[in-house]
Amino acid sequence: MALLDWLDERTGIRSATRLMLEEDVPGGARLRYVFGSVLVFLFMQQVVLGILLAFYYSPSATDAWASTAYLNDQVTSGWFLRGLHHHGSSAMVVVVVLHLLQVVFAGAYRKPREVNWWTGLLMGAIVLAFALTGYLLPWDQKGYWATQVATGIMGSVPGGEPLQQFVQGGPEYGNLTLTRFFALHVFVLPIALAGLLGVHLLLFRKHGVTPPDLPEAELQRKTQPFWPNQLFLDVLAMAVCAAVLVGLTVKTHGAELFAPADPASNFVARPEWYFLFLFQLLKYFQGPLQIVATVLLPGAAAVYLFALPFVDRAKSRAVRSRWAVLSGVGILMAGVTALTAVAIAEDNNNESFQHGVEQAHAEATRARELAREGVAPVGGLAVFDNDPEQKTRMLFKEHCATCHTLEGKGSEEAPTLDGFTSREWLTALVRSPRDRRFYGATKHNTMEPLTTEQASDEELAAVVEYLIGLSGASAAASVDAAMVARGKELWDKKLECSSCHELEAGKDSTGPTLAGRGSPAWVARIIRDSSQKDLYGDTAEMPKFADKLTQEQIEALAQFVASRKTP
């Protein structure tokens, strides 16, 4: 290889590679040495994936959710890369624990490798900090609420409030929280981890593997080189890990993305599975005792692990001489596992939690569907403005609420539209048409009220039923036939409504036609031009929207108003 020779002459690349790869493994290559290498691989993969995600992700409270939804649901393979990054963090936690257990079991924390043990523990803590900071970044319901709990705990610890304010960037969540979590997750933690990893690896090379407890001669005899014997096992383990991750990512179709963070909602917040034990612990210590679960117990466990090289007074690394230390770590792991299991079991048996999860998934699906047409720059929650009904509501607010009231909002210049043309609405209208709720504030306040002497409540109910029957196919299906017949008779023979109101569309009259009254088609005619002769004629004051709104908008508004019958 002439090129390599050329390069080697100028850089010394061959000796550098040799220095990295040529190392004796006393006692031979072993599968239980692979965890450290797998962690290095996972970290590197997370860095690559993280950089890729940063090509689309935007860390601001208004953009974070929409950009994540875009990345996940629209960008080619976005779901896969984000899913791999998400599951990769779980894999790191799992392999950190396996690595730690292997080190404890082999007694590798003992002299002279104490500093290596401590750098390892610090890196384990950083892996958890990665998980905590990464969780918030999508600014979805789950990340938002789970992280609220974490920073809330921070603030509840004596002296923790300044720290909470620092990471949040103030007293509450917002843009500064995201930019801070982003800076921590993407710059501070990776640099810290890489630095510690460098120290960790240098110390590892200085002291070598902790070989099995065998006579020196036998270790020598069985020695194998790191390259390729141990490295092959390492790479094989990485491949198994990668295969599991890819399988998991495909099976779950990537990572979940819940609906955009809504500070006004009540979301069933749960931390990621590897923090569930802390979440469960919190349930047992309340009020002034909360600090036991948030600081004292986790702190004691951390101190115990850090002090392990000193706690262990055994003369040799042999397992039987270290039963106290091993059972200490064993109890710790058993406790974490038990708490996690109880947390999962309690949630599985909690119906309201399960219901909440179902709702959250449904809302997430809807939000992500709506996000495909783009989200208004005011923030992730604006995705719901893409909902057709929401669009119609905004049209209503802009064009109709200046005169009409709906759901308590709007002006009273024109009839209130809650329950428009329902039985109750019509009955009340006929009794007091000049009320402000109806036509009192309009020029069309010429209708005389129908008194109880002219028609009893029971008679009026029959007439209203008759009118409901005329208001269109969907309404006609629900009427009481006997009452309709009675109403028709009253209309034809007793009452004088027909002197102003026609029952056929197109026939001119002083009052609006009652054919199809309140149906979407009738309402649409009103919206287009209410001054037509068979509608409000000369008394019409409502602007003609035929030119101002599109056909589609008018039909959507008509449908919207016509469906307010059951307020």
Partner: protein, 176 residues
């Protein structure tokens, strides 16, 4: 696998292990790299589109042989954002032989915004000194083609202009 076959050299077996490391290593790298290609290339290659007619104002306001700068607004979808009524660009509009003519303000040379110089009655690019006549033709400077004219539509006294961006630096007028 927990213990090796001893210190004696076993070149053949090690060769297989080295091959295995290489093959698995390539596979590991491929996991993020292969999907990353489509991921990173995602929006490139898509066409900005034909453009659509955007309201430019009343016909009566645009009468006259002196060019008027008109800003064009429309709803814009930019990656994940959908913003209503944003400024998308502008154009010069003037009346020539009774008909409205619109020119993109984007200089066909390298995309600077072309200005109108009332004194010399020419469109002038502030960057590289291209100058264009009222008909859009190049009169000076490096521009490879005349100003890009834009389609104008009149309806009920209202003017709409189709906003299209064209490739810069080439003599052919091709949409981006």
């Amino acid at each position: 696998m927990s213990s090796g076959s001893g210190g004696e050299p076993d070149a053949g077996r090690r060769g297989v292990l080295k091959l295995g490391i290489g093959a698995l290593g390539v596979g590991l790298a491929a996991v993020p790299v292969v999907p990353a290609i489509g991921y990173l290339l995602f929006p490139t290659g898509s066409k900005a589109g034909e453009g659509s007619f955007l309201p430019a104002g009343k016909r009566s306001a645009l009468a006259g042989a002196v060019p008027v700068r008109v800003e064009l607004y429309a709803d814009k979808v930019d990656a994940w954002n959908k913003t209503p009524d944003v400024k998308l660009g502008s154009c010069w509009v003037l009346e020539r032989d009774g008909a409205l003519q619109a020119f993109s303000t984007v200089c066909p040379h390298l995309g600077c915004a072309v200005d109108y110089d009332a004194e010399s009655q020419k469109f002038k690019c502030p960057c590289h000194r291209s100058a264009f006549g009222l008909d859009g033709a190049v009169e000076a400077g490096p521009s490879p083609r005349p100003l890009d004219s834009l389609e104008v539509k009149e309806e009920n006294g209202l003017v709409a202009i189709r906003l299209v961006r064209y490739r810069q630096g080439v003599s052919q007028k091709e949409p981006v």
